[in-house]
Symmetry: C2
Subunit: 205 residues, 2 copies
Amino acid sequence: MAVEKVVAAVVDEIRSAGLVQLEVSARHVHLDKECVEVLFGKGYQLTHVRELSQPGQYLEQERVDVVGPKGTFKNVAVLGPERKHVQVEVSFSDAFALGINPPIRQSGDTKGSASVKLVGPKGEITIDEGAIVALRHVHMTPEDAERLGLVDNQVVSVEALTDRRTIFPDTVIRVSPNFRTRMHVDVDEAGAAHIAGFALGRIIK
Amino acid sequence: MAVEKVVAAVVDEIRSAGLVQLEVSARHVHLDKECVEVLFGKGYQLTHVRELSQPGQYLEQERVDVVGPKGTFKNVAVLGPERKHVQVEVSFSDAFALGINPPIRQSGDTKGSASVKLVGPKGEITIDEGAIVALRHVHMTPEDAERLGLVDNQVVSVEALTDRRTIFPDTVIRVSPNFRTRMHVDVDEAGAAHIAGFALGRIIK
């Protein structure tokens, strides 16, 4: 119990200092019902492997190939549950390798974004839109937001406190009781800042 | 002549405002004489394809494979002329794919850095050290340094003025009459900041 209290105190200290854990988000896809059925078969249900840091979000057992005009990534992770619209999140390095030109967007905002082909074991589908590079964002609980004096959609900078310090301006704070407080960066950002394993960022208002 | 004067005035304006052109430096190797002879044959001379932005530095026609414990990059660019010590410059994403753990170093400072195997058409060699991730740096002429009030080895931050603004702290100004004024970033940094084609950075003292 003493240890738990110490840990809780340290975590509180970290949070009140405006520090946030940085997590690397590699390329992945969120599928809608149509895509699941085309790629995996009529009536198919995705199979959870494990819950992600964001509650209710899962790494699924299924994998898909993402195909662009210039290149293919095989066995790309599928994150569940199913969404209303298909979304393919890549880094700019991925986009270059695929030969696509995705816009920088918040998750869910895929209108007019880039086209790619998805290939599964039972079929393939070219999505007219859905491929994006994630707009920088911090998932945050209402409690953490209040503690830090931040509100939903507020734009901050976040400095990665690593051995290759990098400051990420134009980072959106997204507040929801369904979130765990984490900043997600893509693999390019992770490489730029040498984020590997546990890493913290400092929120700069 | 009028156009040249306008261009010169614009370039001067850019420089005096503390702006610097950003260039992406993809993975590459600098070979020493021993490596050239092992990889390409006794007495072999590298063949220049074109001069790089830094005067006297060349992209060579020859290519080598860079092999790590977990992965290989085939046909990696060789930059010339030959150096006293072999040096392999990779991004952290490259390092992850190769399965190596290179330190962040200035060019030329390879003592105790990471080991990789190099493979050429005539042979292969495992270098005990030489693989690094480049310490962020700006090549600068003495004239530009004086204009901007900067000195050799001064550490600054540089903000990439792109549609994905990113600030790179801990960037070393390197001054030499042999340089052209440019900041080099690796492919991870380029992806993080969406540096593609012509891009400028702002030097923050």
